[in-house]
Protein backbone atom coordinates (compact mmCIF):
# COMPACT_ATOMS: atom_id res chain seq x y z
CA UNK A 1 0.00 0.00 0.00
CA UNK A 2 2.42 2.65 -1.19
CA UNK A 3 -0.12 5.06 -2.60
CA UNK A 4 -3.33 6.21 -1.00
CA UNK A 5 -6.22 4.71 -2.92
CA UNK A 6 -8.19 7.92 -3.41
CA UNK A 7 -10.66 6.38 -5.81
CA UNK A 8 -11.63 3.80 -3.18
CA UNK A 9 -11.97 6.51 -0.56
CA UNK A 10 -14.29 8.60 -2.73
CA UNK A 11 -16.37 5.53 -3.51
CA UNK A 12 -16.69 4.82 0.20
CA UNK A 13 -18.00 8.27 1.10
CA UNK A 14 -21.61 7.78 -0.05
CA UNK A 15 -21.65 4.26 1.45
CA UNK A 16 -20.51 5.38 4.88
CA UNK A 17 -22.71 8.49 4.76
CA UNK A 18 -25.72 6.16 4.89
CA UNK A 19 -24.67 5.16 8.41
CA UNK A 20 -23.94 8.63 9.71
CA UNK A 21 -27.60 9.45 10.49
CA UNK A 22 -27.83 6.42 12.79
CA UNK A 23 -24.68 7.49 14.61
CA UNK A 24 -26.10 10.99 15.09
CA UNK A 25 -29.47 9.60 16.11
CA UNK A 26 -27.92 7.38 18.79
CA UNK A 27 -25.92 10.26 20.21
CA UNK A 28 -28.71 12.82 19.79
CA UNK A 29 -31.40 10.80 21.55
CA UNK A 30 -28.85 9.67 24.14
CA UNK A 31 -27.87 13.27 24.82
CA UNK A 32 -31.43 14.55 25.24
CA UNK A 33 -32.33 11.73 27.62
CA UNK A 34 -29.04 12.00 29.49
CA UNK A 35 -29.48 15.76 29.95
CA UNK A 36 -32.96 15.24 31.31
CA UNK A 37 -31.82 12.53 33.69
CA UNK A 38 -28.73 14.48 34.72
CA UNK A 39 -30.81 17.56 35.59
CA UNK A 40 -33.08 15.40 37.75
CA UNK A 41 -30.09 13.82 39.50
CA UNK A 42 -28.43 17.20 40.01
CA UNK A 43 -31.56 18.71 41.56
CA UNK A 44 -32.00 15.67 43.81
CA UNK A 45 -28.38 16.04 44.90
CA UNK A 46 -28.53 19.81 45.43
CA UNK A 47 -31.78 19.65 47.43
CA UNK A 48 -30.56 16.49 49.23
CA UNK A 49 -33.95 14.85 48.82
CA UNK A 50 -33.87 11.92 51.27
CA UNK A 51 -33.69 8.35 49.87
CA UNK A 52 -33.51 9.62 46.28
CA UNK A 53 -30.25 11.36 47.13
CA UNK A 54 -28.68 8.10 48.35
CA UNK A 55 -29.99 6.16 45.36
CA UNK A 56 -28.63 8.80 43.01
CA UNK A 57 -25.22 8.66 44.65
CA UNK A 58 -25.07 4.88 44.16
CA UNK A 59 -26.31 5.17 40.56
CA UNK A 60 -23.74 7.82 39.69
CA UNK A 61 -20.97 5.90 41.38
CA UNK A 62 -21.81 2.70 39.46
CA UNK A 63 -22.16 4.27 36.04
CA UNK A 64 -19.04 6.38 36.45
CA UNK A 65 -17.11 3.51 37.94
CA UNK A 66 -17.65 0.89 35.22
CA UNK A 67 -16.72 0.91 31.52
CA UNK A 68 -19.43 1.82 29.05
CA UNK A 69 -18.88 -1.43 27.14
CA UNK A 70 -19.55 -3.44 30.28
CA UNK A 71 -22.78 -1.51 30.81
CA UNK A 72 -23.85 -2.11 27.23
CA UNK A 73 -23.22 -5.84 27.63
CA UNK A 74 -25.21 -5.83 30.86
CA UNK A 75 -28.21 -4.19 29.22
CA UNK A 76 -28.07 -6.13 26.00
CA UNK A 77 -26.97 -9.62 27.01
CA UNK A 78 -27.32 -9.68 30.77
CA UNK A 79 -30.87 -8.49 31.32
CA UNK A 80 -32.46 -10.92 28.80
CA UNK A 81 -30.66 -13.76 30.58
CA UNK A 82 -32.45 -12.80 33.80
CA UNK A 83 -35.80 -11.88 32.25
CA UNK A 84 -36.32 -13.47 28.88
CA UNK A 85 -39.00 -10.92 27.95
CA UNK A 86 -36.25 -8.31 27.84
CA UNK A 87 -34.96 -9.80 24.58
CA UNK A 88 -37.16 -7.11 23.05
CA UNK A 89 -34.40 -4.65 23.94
CA UNK A 90 -32.78 -4.34 20.55
CA UNK A 91 -29.24 -3.14 19.94
CA UNK A 92 -30.29 0.43 19.23
CA UNK A 93 -32.37 0.64 22.41
CA UNK A 94 -29.64 -0.94 24.52
CA UNK A 95 -27.06 1.46 23.10
CA UNK A 96 -29.25 4.48 23.81
CA UNK A 97 -29.94 3.17 27.32
CA UNK A 98 -26.25 2.64 27.96
CA UNK A 99 -25.19 6.02 26.59
CA UNK A 100 -27.96 7.73 28.56
CA UNK A 101 -27.13 6.15 31.90
CA UNK A 102 -23.37 6.36 31.48
CA UNK A 103 -23.22 9.97 30.41
CA UNK A 104 -26.01 11.19 32.69
CA UNK A 105 -23.86 10.07 35.62
CA UNK A 106 -21.01 12.28 34.46
CA UNK A 107 -23.21 15.18 33.44
CA UNK A 108 -25.15 15.16 36.72
CA UNK A 109 -21.98 16.03 38.57
CA UNK A 110 -21.04 18.94 36.34
CA UNK A 111 -24.60 20.28 36.36
CA UNK A 112 -24.65 19.99 40.15
CA UNK A 113 -21.40 21.92 40.41
CA UNK A 114 -22.77 24.60 38.09
CA UNK A 115 -25.97 24.93 40.14
CA UNK A 116 -24.07 25.18 43.41
CA UNK A 117 -21.86 27.79 41.75
CA UNK A 118 -24.74 30.21 41.20
CA UNK A 119 -24.41 33.05 43.70
CA UNK A 120 -26.45 32.14 46.78
CA UNK A 121 -27.64 35.70 47.32
CA UNK A 122 -29.54 35.55 44.02
CA UNK A 123 -31.39 32.54 45.35
CA UNK A 124 -32.36 34.52 48.42
CA UNK A 125 -33.41 37.48 46.29
CA UNK A 126 -35.66 35.23 44.22
CA UNK A 127 -37.22 33.71 47.32
CA UNK A 128 -37.62 37.14 48.92
CA UNK A 129 -39.93 38.29 46.12
CA UNK A 130 -42.09 35.19 46.60
CA UNK A 131 -40.84 32.81 43.89
CA UNK A 132 -41.43 29.11 44.42
CA UNK A 133 -38.48 26.70 44.34
CA UNK A 134 -39.50 25.63 40.84
CA UNK A 135 -39.63 29.19 39.53
CA UNK A 136 -36.31 29.91 41.18
CA UNK A 137 -34.71 26.92 39.42
CA UNK A 138 -36.25 27.55 36.02
CA UNK A 139 -35.79 31.30 35.80
CA UNK A 140 -32.71 32.13 37.81
CA UNK A 141 -30.51 29.15 38.67
CA UNK A 142 -30.67 26.85 35.64
CA UNK A 143 -30.14 29.58 33.02
CA UNK A 144 -26.98 30.68 34.82
CA UNK A 145 -25.85 27.13 35.51
CA UNK A 146 -26.33 26.29 31.84
CA UNK A 147 -23.81 28.90 30.85
CA UNK A 148 -21.25 27.49 33.25
CA UNK A 149 -21.93 23.87 32.35
CA UNK A 150 -22.24 24.31 28.57
CA UNK A 151 -18.60 23.71 27.59
CA UNK A 152 -18.39 20.55 29.70
CA UNK A 153 -21.73 19.26 28.47
CA UNK A 154 -20.64 19.83 24.88
CA UNK A 155 -17.51 17.82 25.55
CA UNK A 156 -19.64 14.97 26.85
CA UNK A 157 -21.81 15.17 23.75
CA UNK A 158 -18.74 14.91 21.55
CA UNK A 159 -17.53 11.97 23.65
CA UNK A 160 -20.92 10.38 23.24
CA UNK A 161 -20.82 10.66 19.45
CA UNK A 162 -17.53 8.84 19.47
CA UNK A 163 -18.78 6.29 22.00
CA UNK A 164 -21.56 5.23 19.61
CA UNK A 165 -18.86 3.22 17.83
CA UNK A 166 -19.30 0.59 20.56
CA UNK A 167 -22.79 -0.12 19.24
CA UNK A 168 -21.42 -2.50 16.59
CA UNK A 169 -20.59 -4.93 19.35
CA UNK A 170 -24.35 -5.08 19.95
CA UNK A 171 -25.03 -5.72 16.28
CA UNK A 172 -25.87 -2.12 15.42
CA UNK A 173 -24.11 -1.16 12.21
CA UNK A 174 -23.41 2.53 12.61
CA UNK A 175 -20.60 4.52 11.03
CA UNK A 176 -17.80 2.66 12.77
CA UNK A 177 -19.31 -0.80 12.22
CA UNK A 178 -19.84 -0.08 8.53
CA UNK A 179 -16.25 1.12 8.24
CA UNK A 180 -14.84 -1.97 9.95
CA UNK A 181 -16.75 -4.27 7.61
CA UNK A 182 -15.79 -2.35 4.48
CA UNK A 183 -12.16 -2.34 5.59
CA UNK A 184 -12.29 -6.09 6.17
CA UNK A 185 -13.53 -6.54 2.61
CA UNK A 186 -10.93 -4.36 0.92
CA UNK A 187 -8.00 -4.58 3.33
CA UNK A 188 -7.60 -0.86 2.70
CA UNK A 189 -7.75 -0.11 6.40
CA UNK A 190 -6.06 3.24 6.33
CA UNK A 191 -8.26 4.57 3.55
CA UNK A 192 -11.47 3.33 5.14
CA UNK A 193 -10.73 4.65 8.61
CA UNK A 194 -9.50 7.99 7.35
CA UNK A 195 -12.83 8.50 5.59
CA UNK A 196 -14.67 7.66 8.82
CA UNK A 197 -12.35 9.85 10.88
CA UNK A 198 -13.00 12.83 8.62
CA UNK A 199 -16.74 12.32 8.95
CA UNK A 200 -16.57 12.29 12.75
CA UNK A 201 -14.29 15.28 12.62
CA UNK A 202 -16.64 17.35 10.46
CA UNK A 203 -19.58 16.58 12.76
CA UNK A 204 -17.58 17.58 15.83
CA UNK A 205 -16.37 20.76 14.10
CA UNK A 206 -19.95 21.75 13.33
CA UNK A 207 -20.85 21.15 16.96
CA UNK A 208 -17.98 23.33 18.10
CA UNK A 209 -19.35 26.11 15.91
CA UNK A 210 -22.73 25.67 17.56
CA UNK A 211 -21.06 25.77 20.95
CA UNK A 212 -19.30 29.07 20.14
CA UNK A 213 -22.57 30.55 19.01
CA UNK A 214 -24.38 29.45 22.18
CA UNK A 215 -21.58 30.65 24.40
CA UNK A 216 -21.61 34.09 22.83
CA UNK A 217 -25.34 34.30 23.38
CA UNK A 218 -25.21 33.10 26.97
CA UNK A 219 -22.29 35.37 27.81
CA UNK A 220 -24.16 38.46 26.64
CA UNK A 221 -25.14 39.29 30.23
CA UNK A 222 -21.59 39.10 31.53
CA UNK A 223 -19.69 41.44 29.25
CA UNK A 224 -18.79 44.73 30.79
Amino acid sequence: MDVLNVEYMLGLVPVLLRYLPLTLQLAGIGMVLALFLACLFAVVRVLRIPVLNQLTIVFISFFRGTPLLVQLFLFYYGLPQLFSALTVIDGVTATVMGLTMHFSAYMAESIRAAIVGVDRSQTEAALSIGMTNGQLMRRIVLPQATRVALPTLMNYFIDMIKATSLAFTLGVTELMGATQKEAAGSFLYFEAFIVAAIMYWIVVELLSKLQNYLETRLNKAYNR
Binding site: S121, Q122, G130, Q135, R139, R147, K220, Y222
Partner: protein
Protein backbone atom coordinates in the same frame (compact mmCIF):
# COMPACT_ATOMS: atom_id res chain seq x y z
CA UNK B 1 -49.18 47.81 59.72
CA UNK B 2 -46.60 45.37 61.00
CA UNK B 3 -46.83 43.67 64.34
CA UNK B 4 -44.31 41.25 65.83
CA UNK B 5 -45.26 39.41 69.01
CA UNK B 6 -42.68 37.46 71.02
CA UNK B 7 -40.67 36.80 67.88
CA UNK B 8 -37.69 34.55 68.66
CA UNK B 9 -34.95 33.00 66.59
CA UNK B 10 -32.47 30.42 67.80
CA UNK B 11 -29.54 29.04 65.83
CA UNK B 12 -29.03 25.78 67.66
CA UNK B 13 -28.35 26.82 71.22
CA UNK B 14 -27.62 30.45 70.34
CA UNK B 15 -30.56 32.75 70.98
CA UNK B 16 -30.30 35.55 68.44
CA UNK B 17 -33.75 37.11 68.81
CA UNK B 18 -35.30 36.78 72.24
CA UNK B 19 -39.01 37.58 72.16
CA UNK B 20 -39.18 40.75 70.09
CA UNK B 21 -42.41 42.78 70.37
CA UNK B 22 -42.73 45.54 67.84
CA UNK B 23 -45.50 47.45 66.06
CA UNK B 24 -44.89 49.63 63.04
CA UNK B 25 -47.60 51.87 61.61
CA UNK B 26 -48.35 52.15 57.93
CA UNK B 27 -46.13 54.82 56.39
CA UNK B 28 -43.68 54.78 59.27
CA UNK B 29 -39.93 54.93 58.62
CA UNK B 30 -38.03 52.87 61.19
CA UNK B 31 -34.25 52.72 61.45
CA UNK B 32 -32.70 49.86 63.38
CA UNK B 33 -29.25 50.30 64.90
CA UNK B 34 -27.10 48.19 67.12
CA UNK B 35 -23.70 46.54 67.49
CA UNK B 36 -22.49 43.92 65.07
CA UNK B 37 -23.90 40.42 65.58
CA UNK B 38 -26.91 41.44 67.65
CA UNK B 39 -29.49 40.08 65.23
CA UNK B 40 -30.50 43.08 63.11
CA UNK B 41 -30.20 41.17 59.84
CA UNK B 42 -31.79 38.14 61.40
CA UNK B 43 -34.81 40.22 62.39
CA UNK B 44 -35.38 41.47 58.85
CA UNK B 45 -34.74 38.01 57.40
CA UNK B 46 -37.28 36.47 59.77
CA UNK B 47 -39.95 38.93 58.65
CA UNK B 48 -39.26 37.89 55.04
CA UNK B 49 -39.04 34.20 56.03
CA UNK B 50 -35.52 33.96 54.63
CA UNK B 51 -34.95 32.52 58.09
CA UNK B 52 -37.59 30.37 59.71
CA UNK B 53 -38.32 32.06 63.09
CA UNK B 54 -38.31 29.74 66.09
CA UNK B 55 -41.50 31.06 67.70
CA UNK B 56 -43.86 34.01 67.82
CA UNK B 57 -46.53 35.66 65.71
CA UNK B 58 -46.15 38.08 62.83
CA UNK B 59 -48.77 40.34 61.27
CA UNK B 60 -48.09 42.15 58.01
CA UNK B 61 -51.01 44.06 56.51
CA UNK B 62 -54.03 41.84 56.93
CA UNK B 63 -51.98 38.63 57.13
CA UNK B 64 -51.25 37.09 60.53
CA UNK B 65 -49.22 33.92 61.01
CA UNK B 66 -48.02 31.89 63.94
CA UNK B 67 -44.53 31.16 62.64
CA UNK B 68 -44.69 27.52 63.72
CA UNK B 69 -47.93 26.92 61.86
CA UNK B 70 -47.02 28.82 58.72
CA UNK B 71 -47.86 26.78 55.61
CA UNK B 72 -45.96 27.10 52.32
CA UNK B 73 -48.76 29.33 51.12
CA UNK B 74 -48.48 31.57 54.20
CA UNK B 75 -44.75 31.90 53.71
CA UNK B 76 -45.12 32.84 50.03
CA UNK B 77 -47.87 35.34 50.90
CA UNK B 78 -45.73 36.86 53.65
CA UNK B 79 -42.80 37.21 51.26
CA UNK B 80 -44.96 39.01 48.73
CA UNK B 81 -45.93 41.52 51.39
CA UNK B 82 -42.36 42.20 52.45
CA UNK B 83 -39.74 43.29 49.92
CA UNK B 84 -36.04 42.97 50.69
CA UNK B 85 -33.08 45.11 49.69
CA UNK B 86 -29.77 43.31 50.14
CA UNK B 87 -26.42 44.68 51.18
CA UNK B 88 -24.75 43.18 48.11
CA UNK B 89 -27.65 44.07 45.73
CA UNK B 90 -28.19 40.40 44.72
CA UNK B 91 -29.49 41.31 41.27
CA UNK B 92 -30.28 38.44 38.90
CA UNK B 93 -27.12 38.30 36.83
CA UNK B 94 -28.85 36.77 33.81
CA UNK B 95 -31.43 39.56 33.56
CA UNK B 96 -31.33 43.21 32.51
CA UNK B 97 -32.24 46.06 34.84
CA UNK B 98 -35.72 46.14 33.34
CA UNK B 99 -36.14 42.36 33.66
CA UNK B 100 -34.88 42.39 37.25
CA UNK B 101 -37.67 44.80 38.17
CA UNK B 102 -40.35 43.13 36.05
CA UNK B 103 -39.46 39.59 37.15
CA UNK B 104 -41.70 39.42 40.18
CA UNK B 105 -44.63 41.07 38.42
CA UNK B 106 -44.39 38.50 35.63
CA UNK B 107 -43.64 35.39 37.61
CA UNK B 108 -45.16 35.90 41.04
CA UNK B 109 -48.03 38.28 40.32
CA UNK B 110 -48.63 36.82 36.83
CA UNK B 111 -49.15 40.19 35.20
CA UNK B 112 -49.38 40.25 31.40
CA UNK B 113 -46.01 41.03 29.81
CA UNK B 114 -46.88 44.43 28.46
CA UNK B 115 -48.31 45.69 31.74
CA UNK B 116 -45.37 44.35 33.74
CA UNK B 117 -42.78 46.00 31.51
CA UNK B 118 -44.72 49.28 31.44
CA UNK B 119 -44.68 49.32 35.24
CA UNK B 120 -40.99 48.36 35.32
CA UNK B 121 -40.18 51.28 32.99
CA UNK B 122 -42.08 53.68 35.26
CA UNK B 123 -39.98 52.49 38.16
CA UNK B 124 -36.77 52.87 36.15
CA UNK B 125 -37.83 56.51 35.50
CA UNK B 126 -38.42 57.03 39.21
CA UNK B 127 -35.03 55.67 40.18
CA UNK B 128 -33.39 57.67 37.41
CA UNK B 129 -32.09 54.74 35.38
CA UNK B 130 -34.36 54.80 32.33
CA UNK B 131 -31.36 54.69 30.02
CA UNK B 132 -30.06 51.51 31.71
CA UNK B 133 -33.17 49.47 30.98
CA UNK B 134 -31.30 46.94 28.84
CA UNK B 135 -28.05 46.90 30.78
CA UNK B 136 -27.00 43.77 32.65
CA UNK B 137 -25.86 44.02 36.30
CA UNK B 138 -22.25 43.26 35.37
CA UNK B 139 -22.07 46.50 33.39
CA UNK B 140 -23.52 48.77 36.09
CA UNK B 141 -21.84 50.62 38.97
CA UNK B 142 -22.56 49.57 42.55
CA UNK B 143 -24.81 52.58 43.08
CA UNK B 144 -26.79 51.83 39.95
CA UNK B 145 -27.12 48.16 40.91
CA UNK B 146 -28.41 49.02 44.35
CA UNK B 147 -30.92 51.47 42.88
CA UNK B 148 -32.17 48.64 40.65
CA UNK B 149 -32.28 46.47 43.78
CA UNK B 150 -34.52 49.07 45.40
CA UNK B 151 -36.54 49.34 42.19
CA UNK B 152 -37.10 45.58 42.31
CA UNK B 153 -38.39 45.94 45.88
CA UNK B 154 -40.64 48.86 44.85
CA UNK B 155 -42.24 46.84 42.05
CA UNK B 156 -43.66 44.50 44.62
CA UNK B 157 -46.09 47.08 46.00
CA UNK B 158 -45.25 45.48 49.33
CA UNK B 159 -46.56 46.54 52.75
CA UNK B 160 -43.01 47.14 53.88
CA UNK B 161 -39.57 47.32 52.32
CA UNK B 162 -36.79 45.82 54.44
CA UNK B 163 -33.35 47.36 53.88
CA UNK B 164 -30.36 45.47 55.26
CA UNK B 165 -27.39 47.85 55.21
CA UNK B 166 -28.14 49.01 51.67
CA UNK B 167 -25.10 51.28 51.42
CA UNK B 168 -22.47 49.28 53.29
CA UNK B 169 -21.00 47.63 50.20
CA UNK B 170 -20.90 50.80 48.15
CA UNK B 171 -17.88 52.92 47.30
CA UNK B 172 -18.37 56.27 49.08
CA UNK B 173 -19.04 58.04 45.78
CA UNK B 174 -22.26 56.05 45.24
CA UNK B 175 -23.70 56.26 48.77
CA UNK B 176 -25.50 59.57 48.29
CA UNK B 177 -27.48 58.54 45.21
CA UNK B 178 -28.80 55.47 47.03
CA UNK B 179 -29.68 57.38 50.21
CA UNK B 180 -31.31 60.02 48.01
CA UNK B 181 -33.58 57.39 46.47
CA UNK B 182 -34.46 56.05 49.91
CA UNK B 183 -35.36 59.57 51.08
CA UNK B 184 -37.57 59.95 48.04
CA UNK B 185 -39.36 56.72 48.96
CA UNK B 186 -39.69 57.89 52.56
CA UNK B 187 -41.28 61.14 51.43
CA UNK B 188 -43.89 59.05 49.60
CA UNK B 189 -44.61 57.39 52.98
CA UNK B 190 -43.56 53.91 51.92
CA UNK B 191 -43.31 51.86 55.12
CA UNK B 192 -39.63 51.02 55.60
CA UNK B 193 -37.47 49.14 58.09
CA UNK B 194 -33.85 50.12 57.57
CA UNK B 195 -30.78 48.60 59.18
CA UNK B 196 -27.97 51.08 58.62
CA UNK B 197 -24.91 52.74 60.08
CA UNK B 198 -25.74 56.02 58.25
CA UNK B 199 -26.64 58.08 61.31
CA UNK B 200 -27.44 61.17 59.28
CA UNK B 201 -30.09 59.21 57.41
CA UNK B 202 -31.50 58.00 60.71
CA UNK B 203 -31.59 61.52 62.11
CA UNK B 204 -33.08 63.20 59.03
CA UNK B 205 -35.49 60.59 57.75
CA UNK B 206 -36.53 58.16 60.48
CA UNK B 207 -39.76 58.54 62.40
CA UNK B 208 -38.40 56.16 64.98
CA UNK B 209 -35.00 54.72 65.83
CA UNK B 210 -34.75 51.32 67.47
CA UNK B 211 -31.61 50.22 69.29
CA UNK B 212 -31.15 46.45 69.46
CA UNK B 213 -28.59 44.62 71.56
CA UNK B 214 -28.33 40.99 72.60
CA UNK B 215 -31.53 40.00 70.81
CA UNK B 216 -33.65 42.57 72.68
CA UNK B 217 -35.03 45.99 71.86
CA UNK B 218 -33.11 48.04 74.38
CA UNK B 219 -34.49 51.46 73.59
CA UNK B 220 -36.60 53.18 70.94
CA UNK B 221 -37.98 56.62 70.17
CA UNK B 222 -37.82 59.58 67.77
CA UNK B 223 -34.30 60.28 66.48
CA UNK B 224 -33.97 63.51 68.44
CA UNK B 225 -34.56 61.61 71.66
CA UNK B 226 -32.28 58.66 70.89
CA UNK B 227 -29.41 60.75 69.57
CA UNK B 228 -29.54 63.60 72.10
CA UNK B 229 -30.94 61.96 75.16
CA UNK B 230 -30.30 58.20 75.23
CA UNK B 231 -31.37 56.59 78.46
CA UNK B 232 -29.72 53.18 78.48
CA UNK B 233 -25.95 53.09 79.03
CA UNK B 234 -25.59 50.54 76.22
CA UNK B 235 -27.22 52.97 73.77
CA UNK B 236 -24.96 55.77 74.94
CA UNK B 237 -21.92 53.60 74.56
CA UNK B 238 -22.87 52.43 71.07
CA UNK B 239 -23.68 55.95 69.85
CA UNK B 240 -20.45 57.34 71.20
CA UNK B 241 -18.47 54.76 69.26
CA UNK B 242 -20.43 54.98 66.03
CA UNK B 243 -20.60 58.78 65.98
CA UNK B 244 -16.84 58.88 66.39
CA UNK B 245 -16.40 56.92 63.13
CA UNK B 246 -19.60 58.05 61.35
CA UNK B 247 -20.12 61.70 62.36
CA UNK B 248 -23.55 63.11 61.62
Amino acid sequence: MIKLESLSKHFGKTVVLDGIDLTIEKGEIVVIIGPSGTGKSTLLRCINFLEQPTSGTMTVGNLTVDVNRASRGDILAMRRQTAFVFQNYALFANKTALQNIAERLLVVDKWPKEKAYRRAREILEQIGLAEKADAYPASMSGGQQQRVGIGRAMAAGAEVILFDEPTSSLDPEWVEEVLGLMKQLASERQTMMVVTHEMSFARDVADRVIFIDGGHIVEQGPPSEIFHNPKDPRTKDFLKKILATNPV
